[in-house]
């Protein structure tokens, strides 16, 4: 079915097709339209979801945890400060191995308060034990959300999934989209059949009790193993999804990387804009390419090594400032992944687009210009810089 929907509308529609058991709902810009639109489906009787309105995101995630522990498939949506208010519960959900699905519509995390897009909210939660999948556009936001449950609920994984899209840029932009038939979505998702759950009378259990030192570490190792196992499951689900949709997904997307000498590593809608720059440079004979990270947790480090091994210079572009003092989170992961490579490309980090600062095609071309220069001189210059701000002279 060919339609035009915004990213938020697309995820709300996916939710309608999925018909989850429980939604913990609390609104926050720019994700508000998801619970808002879904509330219409509930009110119209188009789904039979238990729609629980709460007084905060701390409670919406608590609702999801309780419901999922009871054996119900539960979902929520949030952004920015809402995600921050869920923070404690994110860890609880992951460590209880509850495969909740959360639509995270990325927005800068205060302060100063700002409603526009960057990844400071979900990057802050990158170590919470949630799988994180990022979308470039409305189509991917819809597709990723439908793939989330078969990934998270699988016995080898049993982890919650954060399905992320760019606030406003994707959430509020209307674009063409191909929707699946509801029957196809439902049979793809299947029924949620947890092994153990609170309401299973044959096997009463406690969820989330105090974990003493002799057991705690074993549980955390199991959680870590599950995150590693998620990689294979994500690819399996993507292969199944391709059969019903015709659309293929990997852990990341390689765009014109076959013979690329200069490459970007970045995420989300910015990758779309960067593709236009790559196309333009290719027309001029520049061997440019990019890798768009789709799955950030688990991080596809080994696979990235293969994708970037043949390049001469790489710019990792972070749309969040990690305040590590030495580069953004995507840079830290990517650079670490390439450490074992004998012939490493030169690598720089550029932090851009904070609080919705727009990224233009020309900006991306400048980054490639810097990479070409690095390849010629062998000097990378400053390792970690910011782009697009007015306060300092730009280095790029």
């Amino acid at each position: 079915m060919s339609h035009r929907l915004s990213g938020n509308e697309a995820v709300a529609y996916a939710l309608k097709q999925i018909n989850p058991d429980v939604m913990g709902a609390f609104p926050i810009t720019p994700s508000t339209e998801i619970p808002e639109q879904f509330a219409n489906y509930v009110a119209n009787g188009e789904v039979n979801t238990e729609y629980v309105t709460v007084e905060s995101e701390h409670s919406s995630m608590s609702v999801c945890i309780a419901a999922q522990a009871a054996g119900a498939r539960s979902v929520s949506a949030t952004s920015s400060c809402g995600l921050a208010l869920m923070y404690e519960l994110l860890y609880v959900a992951a460590s209880c191995r509850l495969p909740i699905t959360l639509a995270c519509v990325n927005r800068a995390l205060s302060g100063p308060i700002n409603i526009n897009h960057d990844y400071s909210d979900s990057m802050g939660a990158r170590d919470s034990g949630w799988i994180q999948i990022y979308a470039e556009n409305n189509q991917e936001a819809y597709d990723n959300f439908i793939m989330a449950m078969p990934i998270g609920e699988h016995l080898s994984v049993r982890l919650p999934v954060m399905s992320c899209m760019d606030g406003f840029i994707t959430s509020h932009a209307v674009e063409n989209i191909e929707l699946l038939e509801t029957d196809a979505v439902r049979s793809f998702i299947g029924e949620y059949k947890p092994e153990n759950y609170l309401l299973k009378k044959e096997n009463p259990l406690a969820v989330g009790p105090y974990d003493i030192s002799p057991y705690y570490m074993e549980h955390k190792v199991q959680e870590a193993e599950a995150m590693k196992a998620a990689k294979a499951r994500i690819l399996e689900v993507a292969a199944e999804f391709a059969k019903i949709s015709g659309r293929s997904y990997g852990l990341f997307e390689e765009y014109r990387m076959e013979d690329a000498e200069f490459a970007l590593v970045l995420m989300g809608s910015s990758a779309g804009t960067a593709k236009a720059a790559v196309d333009k440079l290719r027309e001029d004979g520049v061997k440019a390419g990019l890798v768009k990270i789709r799955v950030f947790r688990p991080f596809p480090g080994e696979e990235l090594v293969r994708a970037l091994a043949g390049t001469r210079a790489v710019a990792v572009m972070d749309k969040s400032e990690g305040f590590s003092g030495s580069g953004g989170p995507l840079f830290a992961e990517t650079r670490s992944a390439l450490y074992d490579l004998k012939e490493r490309p030169h690598m720089i980090n550029i932090v851009f687009g904070l609080g919705g600062r727009d990224l233009k095609v020309e900006d991306v071309e400048k980054v490639f210009g810097r990479l070409a220069n690095i390849a010629v001189t062998g000097e990378i210059g400053p390792l970690y810089t910011h782009m697009g701000q007015r306060s300092k002279e730009e280095i790029v």
Binding site: S2, H3, R4, T29, I115, N116, E136, N137, D166, F168, I169, T170, H172, A173, V174, E175, N176, S269, S270, G272, T273, K275, A276, A277, D279, K280, D358, L359, K360, V361
Partner: protein, 194 residues
Amino acid sequence: MASNDMVEIRWHGRGGQGAKMACMLLADVAGLQGKYVQGFPEYGPERMGAPITAYNRISEKRCNIHSNIYYPDYVVVVDESLLDSVDVTGGLKEDGAIIINTPSSPREIRPRLNGWTGKVCTIDARRISEEVLGSNFPNTPMLAAAVKVSGVLESGHFLANIEESFKHKFAAKPQLIEGNMATLKKSMEEVRLG
């Protein structure tokens, strides 16, 4: 980079006037006609009356670019008072056009356009809306004027398709469909090219 067959439109309005909705409607209708579309707003502080910008890309191919539009083919100004505070012609392509909601003629309005020498179109969207709908909703007449001037969609098909879109949009208020259709047609007849 915007490909040659792509039409890019930038909307300037004030929060509450429906510029975003007009932008979304255009995307929807162009999509119905088989085009690849983008319709998206740019938000500053969200408040009634504050300047807002919205954008359309309409193309034969899917557009991956997700930046704002800096070199539009057409600019639509839903509120005349913005001419004094926003650089509405900034980046507007020389062979493009600006379409302004004003009772003034193109000749009268041109001196307020920072030396813009290209095509100027005016439409009294407020009057049309007040006459037909009984209150000031300038967005639908501006949308019709934008379609007529840009030729991005064929007018007849546009009117047929938007009626479908209205039926969806105004499902809860069907009495608004007839009036909005009338404002669209009237606007297409009255828009002045200069």
